[in-house]
């Protein structure tokens, strides 16, 4: 290894984990915000659950648009796989954080997609509890 390559490897060895840590911190901040909102809505709030998030993901809600009865309509039964927008055909990057580490790091983006997709799948807004459960499920995937 030449010196520049060692330097590059060193930079990568530091920068890649740092980026991952930054993404984790961003996700934690978003989860904390949802936890605060959930607690404000229900004093009995007892944290988020990946299992409940998975149920939310796999439930056939059929709440609104016939093309999107479930999260799986676009994101498939395996969130680690790429999906496809059931309305437009556009490919969608995997929803699972393990294969898509930049997911859920921008609150504005996360809120935009919950607002649109909950309306389209459930036919209503998702509660802060549901948003946190969903994210907890995807963070573990």
């Amino acid at each position: 290894m030449t010196l520049p390559r060692i330097a590059l490897a060193a930079v990568a060895a530091i920068a890649i984990p740092l980026a991952a840590m930054a993404a984790d911190a961003d996700r934690s901040a978003i989860l904390k915000r949802y936890a605060d909102l959930a607690r404000a809505a229900d004093s009995g709030f007892a944290g988020f659950s990946a299992a409940r998030g998975e149920t939310l993901y796999r439930t056939t809600w059929a709440g609104s648009d016939a093309r999107t009865p479930s999260c799986m309509s676009c994101h498939t039964s395996d969130p680690k796989q790429p999906g496809r927008n059931a309305k437009t055909g556009r490919p969608i990057d995997p929803a699972a954080v393990s294969v898509n580490p930049q997911r859920y790091t921008d609150l504005t983006e996360v809120e935009k997609h919950f607002a649109r997709d909950c309306k389209s799948v459930l036919g209503r807004d998702c509660t802060p509890q549901e948003r946190g459960d969903y994210l907890t499920f995807m963070i573990g995937q």
Partner: protein
């Protein structure tokens, strides 16, 4: 762009020769604005602005809460920026790169919403139902399903 004015077999012949430069490809100026590309492109093809007149883009951007049945609302700033970009690059924008072949079908005060209903589009996409029903296609507006270079403006004859 003169070839698009000629109808029928002669027009087709000219089209074949005029597009030979890029593997039968046709270049339609794509979206070059990053914010527009992101906001439109995260749900569907970021359609080339030259395929609709300015008044169509303005109407679409003013009505994002009912965007073909979807609530595609953006912040006011974002919507205003994207509207400005699409209107200034629209098919009928002065000095623009609009596609006359598409624009000539648009009625003088017409405000079409769907590019896929333009007779110019339909003429080029006269396929049997099984083509449209292929699992990767989903809708006629999914350009990339068949045109791999659509995002870069290449709408070749795949």
């Amino acid at each position: 762009m003169g070839q698009f004015w000629m109808p029928g077999a002669l027009g087709l012949l000219v089209l074949i020769f005029s597009t030979a430069g890029h593997a039968g490809g046709k270049f339609v100026a794509p979206v070059t604005d990053a914010a527009t590309q992101k906001a439109c492109g995260e749900c569907h093809t970021a359609f080339p602005p030259g395929l609709l007149p300015a008044r169509s883009w303005a109407a679409l951007l003013d009505d994002l809460s009912d965007h073909f049945g979807e609530d595609a609302s953006l912040s006011m700033d974002q919507a205003a920026h994207i509207k400005d970009y699409l209107v200034t690059h629209a098919g009928d924008a002065p000095g623009g790169q609009g596609l006359r072949e598409f624009m000539r079908w648009v009625a003088p005060s017409g405000k079409p919403r769907r590019i896929t209903e333009n007779p110019a589009f339909l003429r080029k996409h006269d396929f049997p139902a099984r083509v449209w029903q292929a699992p990767d296609v989903v809708t006629k507006s999914n350009c990339q399903a068949c045109h791999a270079g659509a995002a870069q403006g290449w709408l070749d004859d795949d």
